[in-house]
Symmetry: C2
Subunit: 139 residues, 2 copies
Amino acid sequence: MKISTKGRYGLTIMIELAKKHGEGPTSLKTIAQANDLSEHYLEQLIAPLRNAGLVKSIRGAYGGYILTDIPSKITAGDVIRVLEGPITPVEGIEDEEPAKRGLWIRIRDAIKEVLDNTTLEDLANHSNDEEPDGYMFYI
Amino acid sequence: MKISTKGRYGLTIMIELAKKHGEGPTSLKTIAQANDLSEHYLEQLIAPLRNAGLVKSIRGAYGGYILTDIPSKITAGDVIRVLEGPITPVEGIEDEEPAKRGLWIRIRDAIKEVLDNTTLEDLANHSNDEEPDGYMFYI
DNA sequence: AAAAATCCTTAGTAACTTGATAGGCATTAA
DNA sequence: TTAATGCCTATCAAGTTACTAAGGATTTTT
């Protein structure tokens, strides 16, 4: 029941590109160094994002990647779906018995609601928001 | 971003036990056959459920398992936590940057809300509920 | 033209997880 | 005493994860 580093690092890439939106391309090297990640690994993650049309590449020296749309039009759900596959807590919801099927659908819709209503703009701009005191990290 | 067969089959076991609650023990063999699952595999899943105190075993011939509490007091969240670990979309939420941290927390709380408010009674009794026509399984 | 920076592609891999299977011992009701 | 069950440990094939490695293709700057 986890989002892997694919989705998480992919979101990191997209947030970085959102921060630099309108300022020309950002290289993976820059993003990798800023976030202490493997550049080679990020290359593998951005390929599907490019194939899905979420980013555009600019090759050659001083090249890099740019968003194909404004940050307020790209959601976390767009990114997660490309890198993690469809948002669903189980494969083959339709084959489950009605009781369990209903549970999976409610979970799926709850996740979908959050992911599809959070944009890259939200994530890029509000990086310094704080949680309420005493927020529980473990449940 | 998936719940594996551990959590899913575990829930299947618990729903079966909820249906038979008050009628004496149910064997894993019965549950395995009714759901076309491997009895041996279910044995591995029920061990943690027993260790967690959610079910009690009755050994010997005509033995089996029973719930340790009434179905309305055991939630899907109880079962999923035992078999899948803590409910969280990423490991180490607290180490993430604030923007992403907020996103993971909202997802986690959305999932938690559903799982902790769905009891075995809900799942055992409302097995024949139907979804509205045209409900989308893929998103 | 050359060099440097970058994207792009394919392949490999160690560690882990999943979803079992295999074999057998321990306990208890009939 | 026997059959039915729970209980325990080990093994394993396939898939996934999170990389690393190697190098080619493209473009800009010098």
